[in-house]
């Protein structure tokens, strides 16, 4: 990703090696297939992607979860619904009685062949996380595809009808905001208030939390930065916004990312960059070793400026 020399390199910004502090989130990327091709997608997911987790690797994930007390299962993609074994895998994860999250593109749930997931998610009390990048229809559609804004509104209504996003329902609906260009997200608190007001007043929709996630300079977003001549300026913005306080709670310290092929990474971004877990910790699920992984040294690079800029960024939004 180093299309440009970054000065200072990220490694110089930390006072020493960044180490994991246990594994709280077992993030499983079951494949890169998606029916959308969002312009900010670091995965570069799309309908043509063939990378899908095999059933033996899914079974290995379940076995590890059964034998450990990792509290959070975070299933991502692509959009997980397009994996043919996902219904089975979701049920199996649900029986483990952990906090279970699914990152869906949302609009897939409007398709007849996938609509059953709406009830399946509610039945298993799965926390749903859906990308909703902007409250302006034109901008959201520009980023995620024509018609996505309207479809998201429809999906959110269906989820609300089932209790999602409503107080005391136990059904959590979280939205994700990504900037629609070469700038950083605003403060989560401010954007969440804006989203809440617009969605409630204009569409009668409620949700639990908004996660603001900084776009990483990798994948499709990197291509956009380079072709629009924004790369240098964006990286400079990230470097200038570096906030050392975020290092304490940056998500890689408590997350293990499992790729579709069973390789292990410190985060989803390292996964796309091919930077597997290293420094003596096992890099494949077939040789999973909790003791070695729980306090492993994190593999970092200049893209890590993305998670440490300003208020910080993680798969759960701003770093608290």
């Amino acid at each position: 990703m180093d299309a440009l020399h970054i000065d200072p390199p990220f490694e110089e910004m930390t006072s020493g090696p960044l180490n994991a502090a246990g594994i709280e989130i077992f993030q499983i990327n079951i494949g890169y297939r998606c029916n959308l091709k969002c312009r900010h997608c670091h995965i570069e997911a799309g309908p043509e992607r063939q990378e899908l987790m095999t059933k033996p690797i899914m079974e290995k994930c379940l076995q590890i979860l059964e034998t450990t007390s990792i509290p959070i299962i975070d299933i991502t993609g692509g959009t997980p619904e397009m994996h043919p074994d996902f219904p089975w895998f979701l049920e199996a994860c649900a029986t483990l009685r952990r906090r279970l999250m699914v990152r869906s593109n949302g609009v897939i749930l409007l398709q007849e062949s996938y609509a059953s997931f709406l009830d399946l998610y509610a039945w298993h009390q799965v926390e749903i996380i859906i990308s909703f990048p902007h409250m302006e229809r034109r901008i959201a559609d520009r980023q995620r595809g024509e018609g996505v804004f309207s479809n998201l509104i429809e999906v959110l209504r269906k989820l609300n009808e089932r209790g999602y996003g409503r107080q005391n329902s136990g059904l959590i609906l979280n939205l994700v905001h990504n900037p629609a260009g070469a700038y950083l997200p605003g403060k989560q608190e401010n954007l969440e208030g804006h989203y809440r007001q617009i969605l409630k007043e204009k569409y009668g929709i409620v949700f639990n939390n908004l996660f603001c996630i900084t776009n990483m300079p990798i994948g499709r977003f990197l291509s956009y930065l380079q072709t629009s001549d924004n790369y240098e300026d964006y990286m400079m913005t990230l470097v200038q916004a570096f906030n050392p306080a975020t290092l304490e709670n940056v998500m890689c310290r408590t997350t293990l990312s499992v790729a579709w092929d069973g390789k292990l990474y410190d985060c989803d971004f390292n996964q796309i960059l091919g930077m597997t877990v290293n420094h003596g910790a096992p890099d494949h699920i077939s040789v999973f070793d909790l003791a070695k992984l729980a306090h492993r040294r994190i593999v970092t690079g200049n893209h890590c400026y993305g998670c440490t800029a300003g208020a910080g960024s993680s798969c759960q939004g701003e770093i608290g």
Binding site: H134, H177, G181, Y183, L184, N190, L191, G193, H194, M236
Partner: protein, 110 residues
């Protein structure tokens, strides 16, 4: 001194307290407190700041507050409307000063 204004100089803004650190600190405290959400939201304050930045023709502030408005999900139409408020006020200020001109004309003409 080939270029008076350079984009990278925006990064120097935190250093404006150099040579007068106490005054610099007072300024930043005041600035920080002013821009927080209070009776006006951060969105409203950012649009005001953008309008002032354009009327004052400050390239650093225009850069900073255009980015800030984008970050807050403010639409391009809302931003342009704020700029027009600034433009209308500036135009009004100019036209209001024609009062002096008109008064002089009326006094001087036979």
């Amino acid at each position: 001194m080939a270029n008076y204004y350079e984009q990278k100089d925006l990064a120097d803004f935190p250093n404006i307290g150099e040579y007068a650190p106490e005054l610099g600190k007072k300024y930043f405290d005041y600035y920080g407190e002013t821009m927080k959400a209070d009776k006006l939201s951060v969105r409203e304050k950012s649009l005001i700041a953008l309008a002032v930045a354009t009327t004052q023709k400050c390239p650093y502030c225009i850069d900073a507050y255009t980015n800030q408005c984008l970050s807050l999900g403010i639409s391009q139409e809302e931003m342009m409307e704020a700029v027009h408020v600034g433009a209308a006020l500036v135009a009004g200020v100019v036209l209001a000063h024609s009062t002096q001109m008109r008064k002089i004309i009326k006094k001087k003409e036979m």
